[in-house]
Symmetry: C2
Subunit: 236 residues, 2 copies
C-alpha cells in the first residue's frame, strides 16, 4: 500500500529531489498536451528533455531490484504509476486511511482525457484497481487482482476536484472483495464510477515463482506479503 | 478510433515535433524511475524539465477545444493517454485493424509496474478499455464504456513484448459488447488477461449535454459520433 509515509527512514534529500523531478515532469506532460506553441518550441523542449535523461541515465537498477526509496514492509512504493509521488505517470493519488477504508483526492488534467473533456474510462479502472488494492493492504490483506469490474454511471470531468474511495466488503482466507467509487469532491455521495474487485493472496509456491528473484536495494530477498501478518505465507 | 493515420491531412512538421517530444518524455519518465543517479542529478534534470515547460507554456488550448492534430471524423486522437503518439502517458499502443478486430503490440517499462517486475493490474484494465473502445470504433460503433470487466489469469511481465487484441462480440442498437485479451507476443494464444466491456452510444440529448461545448481547433462544434454512420444520432 502506498499511503502515508509510515515506513522505515529514507534518504530525505533523495526523496525530495525525486519528488521534485516527478512534479516537474507531470507539469511538462500536461503542458505538452495542451500547448499551441508549435513545432520549433516542441523540438527545443525535446532537446532539453533528452539532456535531462542523459543526466540520469548513467546507472540504473535492474527490474528485479526494488528502489532504495521503497519500503516493502510498510508498502511504500514511491514509483507506483498511480500513487507514486516519484512516478510522473501517476497523478499521483495520495492514498490515506479513512474510517474503515482508504480515500484519495486528485484533480486530473487533459493528459488523462478519453472522450473530449472527460477522464478516460480506462483511467477510472486503473485508479480504482489501485484504491481497491490499497484498501486491501490497509486491512492487512495484501493480494493480487484476479477480477475487476467497473460500472460507469456518468462521465468524470477533468480539471475538477475528485474523491476516490475504497473499503473491504468481505474477506475470507486468502480472498478479499473490495469495493470503491469515484465522485466529485463537491458532491461526494453522487457516485460517477463504481468498482468491485476480487484480490487473492497467492499461495507461497506461487509467490516464490512470481517474485523469487526480487530483492530490495540492499540485495535482500523481498517477495510481497501481507504487511501485518508475517505468518500469512504459511497459511496457504 | 486511434489507429493508422487515415484521416484528413495534418501539419506534418507539427506532428513530427509532437511525436519527438513525447518519445523523449517517455524515455525520461522511464529513466527517472530506474535511475540510481542520486539527488543532485535529479534536481539538475528537474531544472531542464521546467525550462522545457517554459518553452511550451506561452499559449494553450482550452479543455473544450480539440487539438489541431486530431481528426474527430477518422477518430485520430493524438493525445490519448493510451494510444496517443503525442502523449507521454501513453506507451503508446499503436492500434491497427486486424481480421475482424484490432490489435496492438507494446513492450512496457518499469514505470508501469504494479507488483514487483509485473504490469500494474489497473494498467491492464486501462489498456483493455482502450482496445475494446477502438474495436467498437473500427466497427463503426462508437460508444462510451458503461461496464468493464477484467480477469487476471497470470501476471503480465514488464520489458517483454506483449500483444493486445479486441473484437466486437455482439452489437444491437446503441449497445455493443466487446471482448479483448493481453498475451505475450511470443505466446499469443496463452491469455494472461481477459476483458469484456459494454459500450453504449449515448442518446442525442445526452451527447449534447456531455459534449455540447466541444469544438475542433477551428472552432467548429464537434461532438463525438459514430464515424461511419452520420445518421446514427437519429436512431436513438
Amino acid at each position: 500500500m502506498t499511503t502515508e509515509d509510515d515506513g522505515t527512514p529514507v534518504d530525505a534529500d533523495l526523496m525530495a529531489a525525486t519528488t521534485e523531478l516527478a512534479a516537474a515532469l507531470r507539469e511538462l506532460i500536461e503542458t505538452s498536451v495542451v500547448t499551441t506553441a508549435g513545432a520549433a518550441e516542441a523540438r527545443a523542449a525535446a532537446d532539453l528533455v533528452r539532456e535531462a535523461t542523459a543526466r540520469l541515465a548513467a546507472s540504473r537498477r535492474p527490474k528485479s531490484q526494488l528502489p532504495e526509496l521503497d519500503d516493502p514492509m510498510s508498502g511504500r512504493r514511491v514509483f507506483s504509476p498511480v500513487s507514486g509521488i516519484g512516478n510522473a505517470l501517476a497523478p499521483p493519488l495520495l492514498i490515506r486511511r479513512q474510517d474503515a477504508g482508504v480515500v484519495a483526492e486528485a484533480t486530473l488534467g487533459i493528459a488523462f482525457e478519453g472522450p473530449p473533456s472527460y477522464l478516460h474510462g480506462g483511467m477510472s479502472a486503473l485508479f480504482m484497481d489501485q484504491l481497491l488494492g490499497s484498501a486491501a493492504g490497509a486491512a492487512g490483506l495484501w493480494g493480487m487482482t484476479v477480477h475487476l469490474e467497473t460500472d460507469y454511471r456518468a462521465p468524470v470531468p477533468l480539471e475538477t476536484p475528485l474523491v476516490f474511495r475504497a473499503a473491504v466488503a468481505e474477506s475470507s482466507g486468502r480472498k478479499s472483495v473490495i469495493t470503491g467509487s469515484i465522485a466529485l469532491r463537491d458532491a461526494p455521495d453522487q457516485v460517477l464510477v463504481e468498482a468491485r474487485g476480487i484480490f487473492v493472496m497467492p499461495r507461497p509456491e506461487v509467490v516464490e515463482a512470481y517474485f523469487g528473484s526480487i530483492t530490495d536495494a540492499a540485495g535482500t530477498h523481498t517477495p510481497p506479503r501481507r504487511p501485518s501478518d508475517a505468518g500469512a505465507l504459511d497459511q496457504g
